[in-house]
Amino acid sequence: MVVTAVIARLASWLDQRLGAARAAEAGAGKVFPEHWSFLLGEIAFYAFVVLVASGTFLAMFFDSSLVPITYEGSYAPLHGAEVTPAFASVLDISFDVPAGLLVRQVHHWAALVFVAAIVVHLLRIFFTGAFRRPREVNWLVGVTLLGLAILEGFAGYSLPDDLLSGTGLRVGYSITQSVPVVGDHLAFLVWGGEYPGTEIASRLFIGHVWILPAVMGALIAGHLLLVVRQKHTQFPGPRRTEDNVVGERLWPTYLAKSVGLLFLVTGVMVLLGTLFQVNPVWLYGPYDPAAVTTGAQPDWYMGWLEGALRLTPSVAFRGFGVEVPNVFLPGVLLPGLTFAGLYAYPFVEQWWTGAADREHHLLQRPRDHPHRTAFGVAVVTFYVSLFVGGSNDVLVAQTGWDIAVVINVMRAMVVVLPLVAWWVTRRLCRQLQADDVHAGQVERIRERVPDA
């Protein structure tokens, strides 16, 4: 009783000053349509929450300096080795900070799952046509978040100054240099001079723990506000029209489910961090610009770029006195075109189909849009093929195949498989549509002849 009275007084105090009651009432009554696939973005969101929480812990112990010191922590095999404070502090987190390794592993797994969830969320939006008017702006926000998530992940992967992160940065430096005319200046600007320098880790650190998360947090807030403002899309069904939203109210049903999902995501991340080792930097060893290792891969979300670098034939050209090095095509042009294409897609489709005239709140089934679905599957196949190319050395080491043959087969796959996927998907969509028509006819006959 006393508690209720206190809450009531507190609430009315807030209401008098902020007008909170009206906002809370409107918010709590908000209806969200129910479908499991509408929770994919929420998985990404809660992974982000886990990342911020675990990352805050890690940031307290990480030291981004690159001025060499002697390692004196408790990991014996590297005792007395010359390392950077960046590397040494990650070893300290792993071996000396209580629960440090668990948090580190949870953080890394959460990052891998975060980007995976974003990609699956994006595919759901794409294949159900949820990006159509009036939601083009939110599509742009989402694509930006994907790009930032990849950058954020790469920055985090690069921080510990181990052999793999240094190798990744070395690739990044060369790609930056490959930009015509301004490449060298750009690389000098970002790295503060010649590679590797002593600046890059602290710059990445600021970007990784402050600038990128702040921008992403703001964009995520905007992303969600737009969903609230425009109301969520829904699948067609009984009572569902272009003019209404049918589902559960935010309070209490939807909120309970959503909080439950937060716990589920956190639980899965902690389980991953406990059951599977990730990024054992103590075995990769401290970065040495003269050293390199096979089996050096980026985290999965950079795998398509790694594959592009490995599979693209070495093509360099000169024009107007400008040298365009061979890494420009796979390293700059491909990601540039990828994100340009992602940004432009809703507008290109509107222009192509002439469907810009009205708003769409009911989702489409992939089969009902064979052209879009086939195109999407072809594009996904293209990137998956590149992705597989990024691990060609691991594949060869596991199978004993000839690497030259493997590379050429993969090059062919990158070209051929998307075309095959496009053709197969279109046929499949048409077949499913035909099945629907047939099922509809049977249904109608049943209605007319009840005993049939």
């Binding site: 014996a76 095999p77 592993q105 080792q277 990769y284």
Partner: protein, 279 residues
């Protein structure tokens, strides 16, 4: 179904069957004896004669009496006792008889995997001693890891070995279907022998590149990599980010997809749910 029938026919079929089984066993047995070197069956002793005998019997037919190499097998000049010791203590040599002389790809270009050692320790000593007498090249090294500096070894491993054997020493891909072998099963002596003799496509790391102390340090780190520290969770076979990406998708994301399918609706429930109008 046939068993009672055979018994009924007075054992004629049974006798035939026994004959066939005996014949098959003879063939398989003979094949097996021909197929593996006779070393294990012979009492060879430790004398120089024994080493020469084993060399003539198991090595000379392919590598030549003086180890000069033939059309089927490489020249062993410069490999010394260390090279021969590495080949036989890792069970790579001698090749099984049926693998010799097969020309696709030519035996001399094929990479031979580790196998069971076919000689007794005395025979190994005799053979290696004989190899030391007829071949130029490094002696079998004496490796004492008790005073080795593992962290110096780690850095040398990273610089000289990881580029092919990978950071974990689990082996990696080379060109033409060859691999840099996994170092997990290699003994300390084998590791140093490999550095000094450069088997297959591996370069030679001689005293000028890695002195005795450095070679010992590297070996200490290689030994550590057999069972490196994995404080928390399954090490995913030391494959690295490729395996991690697979786990993130196949375990992490799939688990979450199953969970959201469990808590989320699958088909619109007709008639239920609240309704809002779009503004």
């Amino acid at each position: 179904m046939r068993q009672p029938h055979i018994r009924d026919r007075g054992g004629r079929w049974a006798r035939a069957l026994v004959c066939w089984v005996l014949f098959a066993a003879t063939v398989v047995g003979a094949w097996g004896m021909l197929g593996r070197p006779a070393g294990a069956r012979q009492e060879a002793g430790t004398s120089a004669r024994a080493g020469e005998f084993l060399w003539q019997r198991d090595c000379a037919s392919c590598h030549g009496v003086a180890g000069q190499g033939t059309r089927w097998a490489p020249d062993l000049t410069g490999q010394g006792a260390a090279g021969v010791s590495l080949a036989i203590t890792s069970g790579r040599m001698p090749l099984p008889a049926d693998a010799v002389g097969r020309d696709d790809p030519p035996a001399r270009e094929r990479q031979v995997p580790r196998g069971p050692v076919v000689y007794t320790p005395e025979e190994v000593d005799a053979l290696v001693a004989h190899a030391g007498r007829i071949l130029s090249g490094p002696e079998v090294p004496h490796v004492d890891l008790s005073t080795a500096d593992r962290s110096a070894g780690a850095s040398l491993f990273q610089l000289n070995c990881a580029a092919c054997h990978t950071w974990s020493g689990r082996g990696g891909a080379l060109t033409s279907g060859q691999v840099a072998v996994s170092l997990v099963d290699a003994t300390p002596v084998e590791v140093v022998e490999a550095m000094r003799t450069g088997p297959g496509t591996m370069p030679v790391f001689d005293e000028a590149t890695l002195d005795e102390r450095q070679a010992t340090d590297v070996t200490a780190y290689v030994e550590y990599l057999d069972r490196p520290r994995t404080p928390l969770g399954h090490p995913l076979w030391f494959i690295g980010p490729v395996a991690e990406g697979m786990v993130a998708w196949v375990v992490g994301l799939v688990a979450l997809l199953l969970l959201v399918r469990w808590i989320g609706a699958r088909t619109p429930a007709p008639g239920s749910g609240s309704e809002d109008h779009r503004g």
